[in-house]
Symmetry: D2
Subunit: 341 residues, 4 copies
């Protein structure tokens, strides 16, 4: 770590900080600059007490970490190779087929899901999405069909040979949801719910980890690190928009996160344009950008009649738009060198 001291400190005060750095197990190397002293503290930051606490001392201006805080998820961990996930007969990750995960925000009925599954299958989707458990801002909003929703998901997925991705909200539901789903989705609101994340990790099922509403890239990777540290390497990250001051869109889709994640990590990254902007009329364009950035796939909300959807209808695309979207995406997917089939 690097401990930057205040300017013009009394040497005795500098010594106190040096002594504390040593006490906390680091080898202190003071460097006396023209204006102020900096203490380089040699020692493995991942096993020692952090020196960031020294910022509470009046002698200290700043403390900077040197090492990255994540390990297993870092590119270095796999020596620059990318993780390819094998799920339901599909490969997800760098260079693989661009993956479409599509379906309604919520599972509402057998009829609704069957027709949607048919439509998205026709549009090249390999995974069916649909919420059986819904995290809703208000307790008075539809909370999902729960077990009945899982039953319907299984039925539709079987009928159309699709994998299932669905959100799990409670530690107690992990086992049940894992029994039906191919991919467990951890939603944005639970992106730092480590009890749930750990429980999901232990299920052994692949996990799609959404970015929290105001989660920094580093924090997101560290949440994924929890999953790998609990023995489950099958993780995808999903950018779904961050919260900013802009109100034209529901969230601001941080498409640059695709490049950032590819830089820092070997994990696949998926884009959710529906949550990302919250407006069906912008979804198609955002999908093109996602493909061009070489994201590994899309998680996209499709509904037979968005105006009557039981949740988030304003951001769901109908079957026609979904079909057009898949078609219009092809040249961009080709341009990044991924196979179309």
């Amino acid at each position: 770590m690097i401990v930057v001291l205040k300017p013009n400190l009394d040497p005795a005060e500098v010594e106190k900080v040096i002594a504390e750095v040593a006490k906390l197990g680091y080898e202190p190397r003071p460097i006396h600059g023209k204006v102020q002293t900096v203490i380089a503290a040699i020692g493995d930051e991942s096993t020692h007490h952090t020196l960031e606490t020294l910022a509470s001392w009046p002698q200290v201006e700043h403390v900077h970490r040197v090492q990255k805080r994540y390990k297993l998820v870092s590119r270095e961990a796999k020596k620059g190779h990318d993780s390819i996930l094998h799920i339901h007969g599909q490969k997800i990750g760098a260079g693989q087929k661009f993956c479409f995960m599509a379906g309604p925000c919520s599972v509402e009925s057998e009829e609704q899901l069957m027709t949607t599954a048919q439509a998205v299958k026709a549009g090249g989707a390999t995974f069916l999405r649909g919420g059986a458990y819904k995290p809703r801002t208000s307790p008075y909003e539809f909370q999902g069909l729960a077990k009945e929703g899982l039953r319907i998901l299984s039925l539709a997925a079987k009928e159309y040979d699709l994998g299932i991705i669905t959100e799990v909200l409670s530690e107690r539901d992990v086992e049940l949801v894992a029994a039906h789903a191919d991919i467990l989705q951890i939603g944005a609101r639970n992106a730092q719910n480590f009890a749930l994340i750990t429980e999901a990790a232990r299920s052994g099922k692949p996990i799609l980890l959404k970015r929290g509403l105001s989660m920094k890239i580093e924090e997101w990777l560290l949440a994924a690190e929890y999953i790998l540290a609990h023995g489950n390497p099958n993780v995808m990250l999903c950018e779904r928009g961050i919260r900013t001051f802009e109100t034209y869109t529901r969230n601001t889709l941080d498409l640059g996160a695709v490049a950032a994640i590819k830089h820092e990590s070997h994990l696949p990254i998926i884009i959710d344009p529906s949550q990302g902007c919250g407006r069906a009329d912008l979804v198609l364009e955002l999908c093109k950008a996602a493909a061009a950035l070489n994201a590994d796939g899309l998680l996209i909300e499709v509904h037979p009649n968005p105006a009557e959807a039981w949740s988030d209808g304003q951001q769901q695309v109908d079957f026609d738009l979904y079909a057009r979207l898949v078609e219009e995406l092809k040249p961009f997917v080709s341009a990044v060198g991924r196979p179309l089939e």
Copy 2:
């Protein structure tokens, strides 16, 4: 609801929207302005399907809700009266004694907590805080002493006759934590973890609900609404800083939220200045503002030796500063008309 249509729409298109509004159970009242038509949709928004889904239609510009989404937590629900919580012999709420909840970020050892409990008791605290379960950004950071932490909390609280407030992270720990604590703390990262919130609500214990890092006032009140809707009226809100672009402080303490919550709700509001700014050197000043804004109390991190704290040392105050803070706060607490003893 109010459905604002796009300008210069064909009358047939306007009719389609009107028909859908009616189909969804509202009485549509179109108002034809100079430039565009607005449809006022009469019906109880809390029991009908939302019309916000209509924003997915090309004819529609915007949809505005009219009613507030929260009920039980609203000022109207108690006809303008404030909730006073009775916990561990104390009253928390409007006009009551300003409540000090103080103690370390994490419970580290019996000795650490005993000395801290003694110090905060001497400084007028009535509740002892201390994390036994810690939500940490990295899996490699100290995760709390768990059960042993709860045991130590009970010991120290008993010795110094303090109530206990401590965070619960997992639905499965609610029962155990509730057996030790007087107040269950739901942390910022779990502020929309509705499974945990609901479980905590059912325990019947008073709950302190922290504001999420990027939670709007409305969303925060709706998360509290979950607790009341599950039959537990004993809720305090806790502002602990929101995430903004500013990096001088760890978070931006939204002190105006005190006034906003007093406006909208009957629930008590507590300020956490430690998380709020993340710097011990700003805590005292923020406490004065909290008192002046007529917050109902403080949740404040106090540690015998912050530099060696196992978590968040940079924002914990030592015993001397805590004692000074309590003393310096008195004129501000008096100024809002609260009793000092």
Copy 3:
């Protein structure tokens, strides 16, 4: 406008609001819902006093505008047609050749700019960028070569037959800068400096208006509206990243803004990936996304030796990377149907 009243108001109080709405020139149409009254106020919002001021009244919950605040920049103003700008023999806008504006952050010397102009010309750029006047966060940082910088820009542009785009910071420099430049750039920090914007508008020169650091789409369009309202239709918008909580990148490039602007306006939109992320290593990927989103061009920082650049070296690409970038972009530019030459 729509004036939403508080629930359960006394009818006499409702009447007061209705009277004020009428006094301010609107025709009030009260709609009495189950819980509260809403007043639809009929009248042209663009010529009447706003009713938003009524939010200061205790009877009023919210006031919503109905009409859009911008006119000349809106898609409707050109009946759905896009503006095509003709500058220095080039056409910029929908369906035209993808426009490369490239060059150093700052003009540093004749040699620096000549070599850069040669390199970007070889890489298909049609405009040379380079700051002669630099808005720097600190007064101790390099503020630009001023007139000498303009002279060098003219020299290099002439030598390589490039148009010039350069920033103007002062109303007093508009005339001088306009005498050298083909496009006046209004920077993010001046995006609501209406004195400068108006002066630039009056010069008659095409203007590239960057989005302010925390500017909403609506505010950005309204700043552009100032230019058109002052008789200058030659405006391009430039998204260059907004300020968010994320620190991995310098700014968060809001690529969705391309789609939003195309939706709302007829003006061309340019992407500045350099400011957008502040990291040379992410620039290439962001450019691909910009092309896929059908942005009309790029404003990109290129320097012969970024490490020794006099400003913002960390985000400037070198000649090799620029050349590669132009090459790798081609399939994406083709995919949106734009001509490559």
Copy 4:
């Protein structure tokens, strides 16, 4: 500066960075840690080329500055003493009388301003605020009475023996505005309009510098540094709310900024609660917090009839509320030890 290199670099690569650090004029001191090398670069950062540009190199992970970027505005510059400004017979700054600057958002008419001046004078104000030049988001909104506004300001100020604070928007108006005003206000939108700031500095008049909508504390202090560096020491800072995701309030008033500024700088700090929250109903409470935080004064919008104000009526308080506010503030002002008269 501190240059943190990537882990496990080849020694030859490390040498290249060391050589560049030396070439740029610093004395490089490499420190070889367990995982990666850090180069401490000794040299005065305020006179040397920044090394932050090295972040564009593939060998480099991060670059950290060591020295603070501001000097003249820093507490150290005045050896811990606070600046006290003497304006219109008043002293503004630490320990002085709490300063009320009050008046309408815009000057609308002689009658409006005269009645307001009388009311605020009666309520202890020593400065009259009122905009003659208004920066409006839309070109179709009221832009201020300009010269006529200045004339009315002078008239009212003379009549009631008040100082004048008013905003200047254009470099060209600085001389004229300075001829009427006692304090030149630089607004949030112009907080990094360095041409205007420099021109205002040169006028020699005291300047109130508002914080930009998304300006970090450091950037704000650096903008003030421009003024001092141009020979004008009479600067006040004004916190007026920053832009965040919250929509309940127009802005989020960062009250903690008072403590941060007092920590970092000797300059007085003023709070603008009106812009800070954008709602008249929260203003009083925010003022109490400002006083408790030991801000040096308030800039507050007061209007005889807010509902009919020509700008920002929703955030202006009427005469009754202003009078009540001044009265209710007294105990808080006393509590920080300032004289009431």
